[in-house]
């Protein structure tokens, strides 16, 4: 697949392009990071992070590519890895940090959110994920989900989000809301 085609597919949220980029560039990134004191596991993490950011940026038109995709991914991974190496170096000098502020309320809320998302029906969850993470347009979401129009997708998104919000809030104890 040529770069142009890959980009075109990513813009519509076609995950086969993502798969392709992963398979094609994996070995290259792994060898780069292994050569720079990393493990395959670390390389995989870095690469997946980089690739998924790339995925989002392309869909949201948040990037201007001036090189081949492989070159871009390669340099992003290299930079990410360098940062990670710096971070590791710093940690080895510091003692274990004092306990970070641990907000139980927030932790609880995030847990509730996570559970409610897991319990959502698949269609709703997909629509919301495509909207918030991938950043696909309503038109592309409609295509991907098999809805008839972009408006259908828009309405669906609104309804699904409203439903999710409602579920989450219901799960809260009333005392969380000042009334």
């Amino acid at each position: 697949m040529k770069d142009v085609e890959i980009i075109r597919k990513i813009e519509t949220g076609d995950e086969s392009a993502l798969d392709y980029l992963y398979k094609k560039n994996y070995t290259m990134v792994v060898s780069l990071i292994k050569k720079n004191s990393g493990t395959e596991e670390e390389a995989k993490d870095i690469f997946q992070d980089a690739l998924l950011v790339f995925w989002q940026k392309i869909i949201q038109h948040d990037i201007v590519l001036t090189s081949k995709i492989s070159t871009y991914l390669y340099s992003v991974c290299f930079n990410l890895w360098r940062k990670e190496l710096d971070r590791k170096k710093k940690l080895s000098y510091e003692e274990k940090e004092g306990s970070e502020s641990y907000d139980t309320d927030q932790y609880e809320r995030k847990k509730i959110v996570r559970n409610c998302i897991n319990k959502m029906n698949t269609t709703c969850r997909k629509v919301l994920m495509y909207y918030y993470f991938d950043g696909l347009s309503m038109h592309d979401i409609a295509d991907k989900m098999g809805f008839s129009t972009a408006d259908t997708a828009k309405t669906k998104k609104y309804k699904c989000k409203k439903e999710l919000d409602k579920r989450i809030k219901e799960t809260y104890s009333a005392s969380d809301f000042l009334d």
Binding site: M28, Q48, S67, I117, Y130
Partner: protein, 294 residues
Amino acid sequence: MKSNFHDIASIEKYLSGSLSSSEVISFEKQLASDPLLSNEVSLQKDIIDGLKKHRNTELKSRLSGLTPYPNYINIAKWTWLGIAASGMITAGILYLTQPSISKQVIAYNTIDYQASCKKQLTDNLIASTDNTIIIREERSSSTTLSEAITSTNKDVQSNIEQEKAILPSIDSPNNHLFALDEEREISFSNPNAKEKKESHSSSNELTANNASVDINVTYSEDGLAYTFDEDRLTLVGRFDKDYPYTIYELNFKKKMYFINYKGDYYRIKKTTSLRKFSKLTDQDTIDKLNNLDN
């Protein structure tokens, strides 16, 4: 606590950074004075983050389940350049150089190209420009052709301009630069072939290769052929200057070489005698090779 559609929409806009800076300022003013709104914004942020995280995890699982392509290498994309007339018979000699031996590579029928290739391959560079990516193969150190640079026509062109003035020295013992001299019939079996404008000295090494003498005999005007012995690949044929050819190395089950010219793949096997190009028909291999091409 009520949160109507309007509020949620504004909150989402705020969280996604789609508000203008003045809108942000006024929204944040509201936030400062309205604890309910502030709480709602915080909750919405958690919800949206949760959705994002879910998708992120889902995609990562998907990727982790994939099998990466093995370590393929795309090798030099050579272009026929500087030939006045198309249809000229030319031959190219490529060395698979070894790092331990400082052999210099390539001969082409123009000194310009020769010089630029020499620079590229003997530098043993791993480099990356806007349009290129160089992938270094980890396994064997014996083949520096696998460390060759892939470059676009444009890059080669620009290198050519820079290198034009440089003439390789033929005195050094390790110099195996060849030029295809019009005196050598091997390269010009086409009677219509135009002579090169630039002539340059040829190394004596070429005469040692008897294959070049045989070329005339078995070669047919419209065919493409090659010899590939030890570490030297010789291509013979009417290569059109407008169509670059690309040499690929696949390290799949064993090392295999292919050449792509005008849309078709041909397998290159080790052979001391001249061998005609034969088209690759195995779709599976073609797919693998196509995957390299970008």
